[in-house]
Symmetry: C2
Subunit: 269 residues, 2 copies
Amino acid sequence: MTAPHPFDNAISLQPQGDGAWQGHTSPPYANFIGPFGGITAAQCLQSVLQHPQRLGDPVAFTINFAAALADGAFSLHPRPVRTNRSTQHWIIEMRQGDELVATATALTAVRRPTWGAHELRMPEAPRPLDVPRTTRRGVAWLERYDMRFVLGVLPRTWEGQGSDDSTSRLWVRDDPPRPLDFASLAALCDVFFPRIWLRRARQTPLGTVSLTIYFHACAQQLAAAGSGYLLAQARGQGFAGGYFDHAGQAWSESGELLATTHQVMYYKE
Amino acid sequence: MTAPHPFDNAISLQPQGDGAWQGHTSPPYANFIGPFGGITAAQCLQSVLQHPQRLGDPVAFTINFAAALADGAFSLHPRPVRTNRSTQHWIIEMRQGDELVATATALTAVRRPTWGAHELRMPEAPRPLDVPRTTRRGVAWLERYDMRFVLGVLPRTWEGQGSDDSTSRLWVRDDPPRPLDFASLAALCDVFFPRIWLRRARQTPLGTVSLTIYFHACAQQLAAAGSGYLLAQARGQGFAGGYFDHAGQAWSESGELLATTHQVMYYKE
């Protein structure tokens, strides 16, 4: 018998009998303060994925981080607020005690075969194992991902000599490897370090406030991606008045677009 | 005394006394079936903007279209679910009778001066008045916008000869002109016709299911943009299994990035 993967432990939720689910923050996914936002996103999405009334698979998911999570228990309150023939809309609230710490919305849908042809092609990149694994920097959640930067790695020095272009491109997968699914893909969509670090080569207090993911793959395509690497890419867009955003994409190792993602972060100065 | 602008009529909401607001769909913003999605987004955002408890201005806004709106009355139920020192999180539900027709979340915040330097620059384009106004096509809401396409106009013929690149770029403003504000900018972020029409040059039943807007401008910057044109741009990303998405941007006539936007649409075949 093998031990469960740390990701499966982290997204494990216990029913509370009143439509709520209880989970716990997970030390293997700890960030500088509180948990890695990607694991919080995965926990929120998981409350929908395991819901007995769920119809179809995720198409769109938005999470708003309303407060820093304290280490410990949280409750999740997913509500299917509208169910159509092939689509379903969800509102999810995450609380610690009486405090709301995150809100989310999700659209799940039964997808059907249609014309399809992704427009965003995977950029050229050397194969994952031809790129050295990037050194980890001591925060627990970074140990949970095998990251191999092709472009836009963290600045070597923090001397304020930033770049006009904040694009990063990296191969990434769970460590230890784990077959891809919707919850793990949601977490992987948040592995990008803050784009402002590349622009400024300067550290400032910051945090994600809203994250959106559009899923372009069905469950079978995620299964086909298996435990291979994803090519993940992100680029900053607007930076002003304490908030900046980025747009990102994730392709399977074989070049299939699996998800697009956007987020906006707060920064202090 | 001049008559109110049709946009102001469309976003007019009456308090119902129990935290709910009543509004009506607006014939000048009618689409083929039901209203233009951008006006629905603006109505949802307006329920937050005019809320007596609102703190700060919009930073992030996501709306999920759960059902086709019927022409007539709707109610809006905005809830400030978490208020911090300088940020506030909202959940908004839109209903017609007992039916939920849209959900939304918003983050408002008191923005403060910080380092800032937008990364996405406005693309080169001829001045708005040097570009001919694009012919309108008979749907009411199209009459509410002065659109001047620089790139990626609707296919001239619907013969299935599409393009690999679905980028559109246009100058756009309210018609009649109206000073820009957060509500009208939200609506303007939805003026893009479906990207799949450019890819396929073929019409298929479709509709937006989720739309996200990140605001990069403060109220003063929107006021400075006045009733000038915006340069709006969008490009499709993934197209498969009945859903596709696009990423878009809007700059003021003077080249300031005002908003970035993303949406995912359902399509039938």
